[in-house]
């Protein structure tokens, strides 16, 4: 069944925002397929529409043209059926709820019983390594821990698709690399497809099966690069020549020409 093997299918998707100064084309002619279980990054400079595309898939905004389906349904139906979990750049935890209650929020909203919620919370805090913090409040956690809670919350309903909008964008480099490895492990363990918005080239290369390169004015896809590291996403990968090769390839695709002196951070 094609429904089950294609997580996201976009054909000719466009988004126009009406503003006082006239219409702004945020996204145009996007064709993209994300297979079930595949990890796809969207990368590009500000204004390239990568976050807009993610919001369209999540049905937080509506596409103005083209068709978009999530597991063979409309994005709207997929949202109502809770086929995806989502994490944003800000963790977006409710400050008056404990870690456990934050993770259980989606379950609570959909009427999952208390015993089942407790069991699921225990699994998830274990998955993101926060078992000792389940009764804490968000203001007692570091930024990286808050983001891990947000990821656990996104996974609460065992979604087959995970949408992530620069979830590590506000974190320091060390925390960031650690959480990237964690995310690679979690994605592999859960088998969920991931659409991951980022503006970090190394991050995109390290995590993804494919990197979608986007460009602004108007926002569109300019290139799709396979990475193909398979399941070998371990720390050593960051040091390997293949890794740097892919980083350079993505950078050249982003800049539209070979780069003379790669300026690695």
């Amino acid at each position: 069944m094609t429904d089950e093997t294609i997580a996201v299918r976009a054909a000719g998707v466009g988004k126009v925002f009406p503003t006082k100064a006239g219409e702004v084309v945020a996204l145009t002619g996007v064709d993209l397929e994300v297979a079930a279980g595949e990890f796809v990054s969207l990368i590009g400079p500000s204004g390239c529409g990568k976050s807009t595309l993610l919001r369209l898939i999540a049905d937080l905004d509506e596409a103005t043209s083209g068709t978009l389906s999530v597991f063979g349904k409309t994005a709207h139906q997929a949202r109502l059926d809770q086929d995806y979990g989502i994490a944003f750049q800000q963790a977006g935890l409710l400050p008056w709820r404990t870690v456990g209650a934050n993770i259980a929020l989606p379950l609570e909203l959909h009427g999952v019983g208390k015993a089942d919620r407790e069991a699921r919370i225990a699994e998830l805090v274990d998955l993101v390594g926060l078992t000792d913090f389940v009764d804490r409040h968000p203001d007692q956690l570091s930024g990286g821990m808050q983001q891990r809670v947000a990821i656990a919350r996104a996974l609460a309903e065992r979604p087959r698709l995970l949408l992530m909008d620069e979830p590590f964008g506000a974190l320091d480099e060390m925390t960031r690399e650690y959480l990237q490895s964690e995310l690679a492990r979690i994605a592999a363990e859960t088998g969920a497809a991931v659409v991951f918005v980022t503006h970090s080239i190394p991050e995109a290369v390290f995590l993804s099966d494919r990197v979608v390169v986007m460009s602004p004015r108007p926002g569109r896809i300019t290139d799709i690069l396979p990475v193909d590291f398979g399941d070998a996403r371990v720390e050593g990968l960051r040091e390997s020549p293949e890794y740097f090769e892919r980083v350079t390839a993505v950078r050249e695709a982003l800049h539209g020409a070979p780069v003379e002196r790669p300026n690695e951070r």
Binding site: L60, Q82, F88, Q90, G92, P95, L105, P106, L109, P138
Partner: protein, 255 residues
């Protein structure tokens, strides 16, 4: 900037200032006899307080009840109307100028009218005045609080396919709660002041305000001051209780 005071000093320092001022007062009145005759000695005020404790407490009960009824009714009305205004935009437009009008009503101006309207045997006029005074800060703060939800939280609930009622219960209401408590804290002081001041303009012959006026007019300054102390006690209790509520609710606000 000065360094923060140690914890004990935060309680001891104001108490010491109070004790010093009280000492100066005693010296001025009882030792050097420099004060005007209407200013009694704190000792005399204390004596009156002890002597007339039962009727002072009774009058405190009347004023406090009026303030509490006004605070409760005014606040409930304010919460309901602010909820409607936040949910339905045209109602917001309709209510905004009305609330602005109520906010500038001088309480002393309408008090005699209300007192006459409801007669000399009814506390209703006083309670209404306290209610009007409490309504405004609660309405303004709750309405603001209901508009404070963050975009990331709204996205989250939409992504979780939450119903409008679920969104209200899990996000909008908890976000607005600290604002409600701030409104209540401000309203509580206003309700006490208004209930007390309303007594100066007629109505039944009980309550702290009436008693202060009567004692002062008949030259019993020490008794008047004893009643003032009773009024301060009411105000303090209202303020402390609502401040405590506010503190409990706002504990988890910032992230």
């Amino acid at each position: 900037m000065t360094a923060a005071l140690p914890a004990w000093a935060r309680f001891v320092a104001p108490a010491a200032v109070g004790a010093i001022l009280l000492g100066i007062w005693v010296v001025l009145v009882d030792v050097v006899h420099l004060a005007p005759r209407a200013l009694p000695s704190p000792v005399a005020v204390g004596e009156q307080l002890v002597q007339h404790w039962d009727i002072i407490l009774e009058d405190m009960g009347v004023t406090a009840t009026n303030a509490l009824v006004g605070l409760a009714v005014g606040s409930i009305l304010a919460i309901v109307l602010a909820g409607l205004a936040a949910a339905i935009r045209p109602i917001d437009g309709m209510l905004a100028p009305l609330v602005a009008a109520i906010a500038v009503v001088p309480i002393v101006a309408i008090t005699p009218i209300l007192n006459t309207m409801f007669g000399a045997s009814s506390q209703f006029g006083r309670q209404a005045v306290a209610g009007i005074a409490a309504f405004v800060p609660v309405f303004i703060n709750v309405l603001r609080g209901l508009h404070q939800t963050r975009p990331v939280h709204r996205d989250l609930l939409r992504a979780s396919a939450a119903t409008p009622w679920q969104t209200f219960r899990t996000l909008t209401l908890p976000t607005a709660l600290p604002y409600l408590m701030t409104g209540l804290r401000i309203a509580s002081s206003l309700a006490v002041i208004s209930a007390l001041v309303a007594e100066y303009f007629g109505g039944p012959s009980d309550g702290i305000g009436t008693a202060i006026a009567t004692a002062a007019k008949s030259g019993r300054a020490a008794l008047a001051f004893a009643y003032v102390a009773g009024g301060i006690a009411i105000g303090l209790v209202f303020f402390l209780v609502t401040s405590l509520l506010e503190r409990i609710v706002t504990r988890r606000s910032p992230v």
